[in-house]
């Protein structure tokens, strides 16, 4: 490629990044509003029919998982374009596929009131009389479009990385040798390689599951094994959510050094840690099935051991690496490094809440209570979202400290997750449109009052987001 072509390609990547970032920001904001609505409904402040509540819940859950994954794709593509040759045509095709997927999902949930929850647990989507027959088809086809789009992106990124860094470089294997030769591999490359290998492998299983969904829709008399379907959906869903978090960490590794002034290079420890993460991220999903006693016990134990061991590379390598970045670095604080530091804290807090719940004897009490909701909201709001916002601030060159904005986002976020956790400790079930039928006044009160308090904290997040968007989007013309 000539330098003129390369410059043209970079301009196109910048435009596409801006376009996709703004799209993700808008969709994310709408989904946050839906989250606020759900908490307000659970607190009884806002009335909403149950079928609409569960449709909104499904849209919020599936939408967040998808939108934040696409946010990760956007940031990673831009950051990697410094190192590898990004296929812009494929990015455009991806965008079209994602739009089709989103439109179908909106139609299924808001028009068809399709509401089986984000993990569309078989055979609930096909329960007759609950929603119109076309709705599960629209949702299945929507997920197929999204899945194809994500699989194509992951395979193409992996191809481009291997072309640039070779087999010994893409997963950092060359650092296992005592005599490291050739050019350095940036940590972002190793993290993205690990993520897309896990992501594309499990997307294939997700695609297989969706094919079975399609067959089931065509022939309602057919029945597939429910335990197999549950394994498939969590293998796919858990991994996609987890690698979104890894994309966030890749953002941290890549942009933090420019603020601390310290290099964050790959080495043997980083390579070992992330190769280990590849194994743990795939086996950890078993912890979703602890309460399925038909599943072999050995798999439950693998789930707990895998979940526990995943803390080793995460804290020993990434957190100590981050401490080495920040500690006495003479950093000039602005929104980006502050958000990155807080996001790492959120990631570890969310991870710890998950480890507690991944303990089988604890899961017996917390499974499908609000405790679980606390875990993944910490991962997202206080982890990945802060990482993504830090990327946006860096990308749009937002110079302000944004202290108030960040305070609003972080205080709102912790308020939300603490309310979930308190409700979980009080045995409040998750996914209840209405707590009033629960035959224990204490549980009802805990559910409703924590939902009410969380609604106020959600407003704080909304205010923080609006303030941040105003700052970031005022720089929009620079990146168009």
């Amino acid at each position: 490629m000539t330098s003129a072509q390369s410059m043209g390609n970079q301009k196109e990547i910048t435009r596409l990044t801006t376009f996709m970032t703004v799209t993700v920001m808008v969709l994310f904001f709408v989904l946050v509003l839906l989250g606020f609505v759900m908490r307000a409904v659970q607190s009884t402040v806002l009335p909403l029919p149950s079928d609409l509540f569960y449709a909104v819940m499904t849209l919020h859950g599936l939408g967040m998982a998808g939108v934040l994954f696409v946010g990760g794709i956007t940031a990673i593509t831009y950051l990697l374009s410094k190192y590898i040759n990004v296929n812009t045509m494929l990015l455009k095709i991806n965008f079209v596929l994602i739009v089709i997927g989103v439109v179908l999902l909106l139609a299924a949930t808001l028009i068809g009131r399709f509401g089986p929850g984000w993990y569309v647990l078989y055979p609930l989507p096909f329960l007759e009389g609950t929603w119109p027959r076309w709705a599960p088809l629209a949702a299945t086809v929507s997920l197929m479009f999204l899945g194809v789009s994500w699989l194509l992106w992951q395979l193409d990124i992996l191809r481009a990385i291997i072309v640039r860094y070779g087999i010994s470089g893409f997963l950092g294997w060359k650092y296992f040798s005592s005599d490291v030769k050739g050019e350095e591999v940036p940590p972002i490359v190793i993290i993205v390689s690990v993520s897309v290998i896990a992501g594309s492998l499990t997307t294939v299983f997700g695609a297989f599951m969706l094919m079975l969904y399609l067959i089931q829709w065509i022939n309602p008399d057919m029945h597939f094994n429910a335990l197999m379907m549950k394994n498939l959906v969590f293998l796919f869903g858990h991994t996609i959510v987890n690698i979104t978090m890894y994309f966030g960490l890749a953002i941290v590794y890549e942009i933090l050094p420019s603020y601390t002034g310290r290099a964050w290079k790959a080495n043997k420890m980083v390579a070992i840690a992330w190769n280990a993460a590849l194994v743990f991220v795939i086996i950890a999903y078993f912890h979703h099935l602890y309460m399925d006693f038909a599943q072999p016990v050995a798999l439950h134990i693998i789930g707990q051991v895998g979940s526990y061991l995943s803390t080793v590379p995460a804290t020993v390598v990434t957190i100590f690496g981050a401490i080495g970045q920040f500690y006495r670095s003479g950093i000039k604080w602005s929104f980006t490094p502050a958000a990155l530091g807080l996001s790492l804290m959120g990631w570890i807090v969310g991870g710890f809440i998950a480890v507690v719940d991944s303990t089988i004897v604890v899961n017996s009490y917390f499974h499908n209570t609000m405790w679980v909701t606390s875990h993944f909201h910490t991962y997202y709001i206080l982890g990945f979202v802060l990482m993504f916002l830090a990327f946006i601030a860096d990308y749009f060159e937002v110079k302000e400290s944004g202290k108030k904005t960040l305070f609003s986002l972080v205080a709102g976020g912790y308020g939300i997750i603490i309310m979930f956790a308190v409700a979980g400790v009080n045995s409040v079930p998750r996914r209840f449109a209405d707590y009033s039928a629960i035959p224990f006044e204490k549980v009802v009160k805990s559910g409703q009052s924590t939902a009410l308090i969380a609604s106020f904290f959600a407003l704080l997040v909304i205010v923080g987001l609006l303030a941040f968007y105003k700052k970031a989007l005022s720089q929009l013309s620079k990146k168009w």
Partner: protein, 181 residues
């Protein structure tokens, strides 16, 4: 008890994470290198401690009598209650069970996945299992206090999921009249 321990441990660890974040953040404005060897030493100690803690907690929790699968290996139950879940109701073969006896709930679903969660009279979850179509999941539990326990569905199962509630009475052995013994 387990819930209390989990909550306290979480509060302690999360507070510690917050303190470390604050300490590192507060130090970051100052510029000084040369601390790296000390950091590597702390990392080595942390690594060793983490492995020891993980191994210890895994051993204690995985060998615990509270593991829900352990009870299934302990001979025959004293009473079997057959439970069928269907949208949005529970059908139990017995409405009462005796206290201090091993009760086996044989759980099956006629339609979609459900979650069979037993709440104590105080409103706390004491045991639970998923209820999956095509399988009979067996949950064993020994009630140690008499009273009216409630059954809530904890696996989302459609628009009236939150109303799928039933109850079971735990009575003294002498007062027990039903069930498949």
């Amino acid at each position: 008890m387990i819930v209390k321990i989990a909550a306290i441990v979480t509060i302690v660890v999360v507070s510690l994470i917050g303190l470390i974040t604050y300490y590192v953040g507060a130090s970051a404005s100052e510029k000084k290198d040369g601390f790296q060897p000390s950091l590597y030493k702390i990392r080595s100690v942390y690594f060793t401690l983490l492995i020891v803690v993980i191994a210890g907690v895994l051993m204690v929790t995985l060998s615990s009598e509270s593991m829900p699968y352990v009870q299934m290996k302990k001979g025959n139950p004293d009473v079997v209650v057959n439970v069928t879940g269907r949208i949005w109701a529970w059908e139990l073969s017995s409405e009462q069970v005796p206290v201090n006896k091993v009760i086996e709930f044989a759980l099956q679903s006629e339609d979609v996945n459900h979650g069979f969660a037993i709440y104590s009279p105080e409103g706390k979850i004491v045991a639970q299992s998923q209820v999956m179509p095509g399988y009979v999941n067996k949950l064993r539990y020994t009630f140690t206090e008499p009273g009216e326990y409630k059954i809530l569905c904890l696996e989302y199962c459609g628009v009236a999921h939150h109303t799928m509630i039933s109850s079971i009475k735990v009575v003294e052995e002498a007062a027990f009249t039903g069930g498949n013994q």
